[in-house]
Amino acid sequence: MSRGTNGRKRRVKPFVTSAASAGGLRIVAVNLHAAEAGVLPGMPLADARALAPGLEVAAADPLSDNEQLARLAAWCGSFSPWTAPEAGGSGPDGAGIWLDASGCAHLFGGEEELLRELIERVQRLGFGVRAAIADTAGAAWAVARFGAAGAEGDSRCVLVPAGETQAALAPLPIAGLRLPGPTIEGLAVLGIRRISDLVTMPRAPLVARFGSIVTERLDRALGVVKEPISPLVPEAPYRERLGLAEPIGTREAIEAVLAHLLTDLCTRLDRDYMGVRRLDFALFRVDGNVAHVRIGTSRPVREPKHLARLFAEHLEGLDLGEGIEVLTLTAQTVEALAADQLEMPGPGLEHALASANVAALVDRLTNRLGADAVVRLTERQSHVPEHAGITVAAARSAPAEPVTPPAGRGERPLRLFPKPFLIEAVAPVPDGPPVLFRWRRVLHRIARAEGPERIAPEWWRTSLAWMTPWEETTRDYYRVEDESGRRFWVYREGLYPLATAPAQDEEGGEPFLPGMTPRWFVHGLFA
């Protein structure tokens, strides 16, 4: 079932908004009092002033109207997990809000109670509202806008009982089918003014004249053809809701409500052998704003205490405005979770407890510090050192593939720098290890060295554009130990030119090495 609502600001005087158009200022939207005086949208402003002498006028502001509508749609999230604003002008076919009420009515004690509470709360925000629940989105739209005039006040609600859609639609004007203006006028010329006129008509001439839109909208309104209005919503969404008679404004009170909602949700999850991976806690403020607190877990969970601790981090410093009147808790992602095995006796107990503890710990750390900050170390099959060891967010599952280090790989340092540091090194033999190097203004004299271990770039990666130049050259790695016992992983970038005698330059000074001069880097620390 779906439902549209239509809201306007409540005032005691005739009030309109106007905008410039061809031929001067025209009325865009009217309030109830203006409508009673005969002022209609589209009328020139001068005519309206003549009809209603005390008319208040403001410039129309469609942008902020749409923003307000979107805020109201979000606020309606306290009634249904799926809401959407439908922008539009004023008037009967104007803006509204869609709510998918499937499976939500039981939270309020029935569809009638849901409608009544919705109307009451929207009115308290200062809007006039018309709402309807029907079997189809199209019927709800039509009934909310054109339904039998309730005539008491500017708010009313209609509940179209299941299966009575056609009867409810029949007396409504054809504008209730969400048809474009020219089509409505064309139908009116043929004498078709009410939906009941359309139902009995032969279809072929209608399609021939107006295209398929008329029959299509009719079928959708009647429920003959399904109308996809929302993403697939699970049959029984895991959602808990608490509406409060008195708004609450303290953290303690919110935590108490949250604990209550979590207990209810986890009881349902437990019954269905499900666990939650993502949870949304929405706090609906008295002033019409909504605050969301969202958490994720590294594995399916249904322990209220664990989840409450994850939320506790985020409730600090939440803007509660003038108070919270409705709180909802929605499981956005659920996964199967077998019955708890904690009662099972035997040696597995300690292990099970341990893993549950660790998972809960990962969640707490991740929710506070972020998924990038809590990682596991993994190895990959790569000769290039910086590709061989990477980190993966711990909240994600561990990679399954076991990695065996490539045969013949030398020892690797305990710490690897994200970017190697350029050092000044002296190597007496072109192909040999350095005898001393300077790094961070400290001179290290090498006592022992082991190497080289030649690491060439992986040929299938060499020409990739994202690679930095230092990833593209052959490196000769040495493990070196300085005189005080500190151990480093250094490498020489690039190859010395082949042993063909270095050409002497004209003056017979320094030997001239063609190509690049090799550079030395420190890439890691050994223990």
Partner: protein
């Protein structure tokens, strides 16, 4: 009411009595694999479920990190390889001392898949993550790399370690004057022996030990057997404090 001093009691007997008061319950232990080290510790090995502190010397971060990694490897193996290690550090130290490197940990004998790394934005979060891990339990060890730790912080970590039964290891650049840690270690790298060049090898000094006496050794790490061993080719210097050697040398 305090018992009157008994003249006949030897110093050693008094030490034993003090030790009994100071060490409330016998900790479970994990040995070093080197008998001389285990014998020097009053518990007969490294006590579990409490805080230990290790410091390198300026410019030699590798020694303390290596010693910590070696200890953690032993602790992890002692849980039959089932429990993970939580390793907490500040994310912005990667340019200073580098990132923990999975192939390097494997070279040390520690399987990277058992390591959970926390790269926190600031020291306060490193300490918070450590405490969370210690109190959560179910871990083989919790390691934290921080710049300095005051007494109340180390005391807090010690209490958390006792509460959760998890061993905590703080790696600091310099040992503070006072600390709540049960044992405190000062590390410096020493050159490898001729037979095994470039092998992990450190001068290990136990500077403070609750209920024990300071001692020093030269130890090397065997990543195949996960044992510490008194370095081959070096005489046992456990009875010779370091500063005396320094004086002799200089």
């Amino acid at each position: 009411m305090s018992p009157a001093p008994q003249p006949g009691l030897s110093l050693e007997a008094l030490r034993t009595r003090i030790r009994a008061i100071e060490v409330p319950s016998p900790y479970r232990t994990v040995g070093f694999g080197a008998a001389t080290v285990d014998a020097a510790l009053p518990w007969g090995g490294l006590p579990l479920g409490c805080l230990h502190e290790a410091a390198g010397t300026p410019g030699d971060a590798g020694a303390a990190l290596g010693f910590a990694t070696a200890l953690v490897t032993r602790l992890q193996k002692s849980t039959a390889g089932t429990r993970p290690v939580l390793w907490c550090l500040r994310g912005d130290t990667e340019h200073e001392i580098g990132n923990p490197y999975a192939p390097g940990l494997r070279s040390f004998g520690l399987s990277p898949k058992h390591v959970l790394l926390v790269r926190a934005p600031a020291t306060a979060q490193v300490l918070w993550a450590m405490e969370e891990g210690l109190r959560a339990g179910g871990l083989a060890a919790v390691v934290g790399e921080v710049e300095d730790v005051d007494f109340s912080t180390s005391r807090r970590l010690q209490l958390a370690a006792e509460a959760g039964g998890v061993t905590a290891l703080l790696v600091v650049p310099e040992l503070a004057a006072v600390s709540g840690a049960v044992t405190r270690w000062q590390l410096s790298s020493i050159g490898g022996a001729e037979a095994r060049p470039l092998h992990p090898r450190w001068h290990v000094e136990l500077t403070h030990c609750r209920g024990g006496t300071p001692a020093a050794w030269e130890l090397e790490w065997n990543h195949a057997t996960y044992d510490f061993a008194v370095a081959a080719g070096v005489r046992d210097r456990s009875l010779e404090p370091r500063h005396e050697r320094a004086q002799a040398a200089g």
